[in-house]
Symmetry: C2
Subunit: 229 residues, 2 copies
Amino acid sequence: MTKPAVVLLSGGLDSATACAMARVDGFEVYALSIDYGQRHRSELDAARRVGEALGVPRHVVQQIDLSQFGGSALTAAIDVPKRRSEDEIASGIPVTYVPARNTVFLALALAYAEVVQAADIYIGVNAVDYSGYPDCRGEFIEAFERLANLATKAGVEGTLSFSIHAPLLKMTKAEIIRHGVTLGVDYGLTRSCYDPVEQDTACGLCDACQLRRSGFAEAGLTDPIPYQA
Amino acid sequence: MTKPAVVLLSGGLDSATACAMARVDGFEVYALSIDYGQRHRSELDAARRVGEALGVPRHVVQQIDLSQFGGSALTAAIDVPKRRSEDEIASGIPVTYVPARNTVFLALALAYAEVVQAADIYIGVNAVDYSGYPDCRGEFIEAFERLANLATKAGVEGTLSFSIHAPLLKMTKAEIIRHGVTLGVDYGLTRSCYDPVEQDTACGLCDACQLRRSGFAEAGLTDPIPYQA
């Protein structure tokens, strides 16, 4: 019998690749997307398309409202920075950081995983081209894995030993794209932009767009999605 | 200036006491209640009453839907166990365990805390009369505190050093009640029942009711709330 894994699927390039990797690793994928009040909600449509294209049998969209707390350009009325240089992107944690986002996402994934008896959770975080987010680092992932096994009935009783898989952690964006292409990921279905101008057009200027575009350029591939600028 | 603290306020006896303790510790309380699809939703009304009575200046209710995952008598169509003996209650983790609930709650509290720049988070977990839940133990709280400081911009940059306060951790239910009474907590406003028969009447037979009633009995005090049985 195929073993279940919960995959956090945002609709972006990274999580689509992580999802394809979970399938190649032999898991039956339980996809989980989080509608957290983000301004770039078109990524949720992308998540649905990506899940369907990858033949994911189950996909839950969990709604929470992080904008009730505010504090991030992705959830509050703060401008998303544009046209930043590579050095600027690499220095410090930007205003697009959402407080404790990946902790909240992994906590929800853990709840789902324990219910469906999945010991394995996939998250597409990436510490190389990661915009400096603290919850995209290996130390964070390890600390969460440790927590997961103390926090749950299955972990404490030993019926499941939770593993948090972050297979993209040490890959560059170009490596992720090249690898995803070999796995048949259709990046035309994914969306990465923090501030899309219309539902299906990326701004081309935010950090996420810039990292994505230079990834495709470095991989020598054409990004199939539309950009405004 | 008074320092802020986020307090997880469920509307039950324990979190009301923890909230009163945060105030006595000198914090300005940012209360956070979670509407997670629990069958005992009257506890959310209780949370509002408790917050008002304790003069909490800010109170956010965050909605999530753990019943989308299922897997617990508190969120799915599984019967809440009744009339269990003290030995039965003390043995093993009951079906009222909600997968990863306190991990999800603390993750949301952390998100809120980072936004309002609160280094301190209070949670009313209790390892003595705790029904055997894994996420009510000191080890879990310590692991979460460690995670919090790795997961956040404030933790990584050192602007905040997060502390998870679980002041009831080693108290018996009777000790909690006695202490709360000295702090002026009105337990008539709180609700603990997992399976209330009407909005304001506790069943009297579930583990939560039984633990609460023996706590009051042991403290030599009268529980001011109505019970059906």
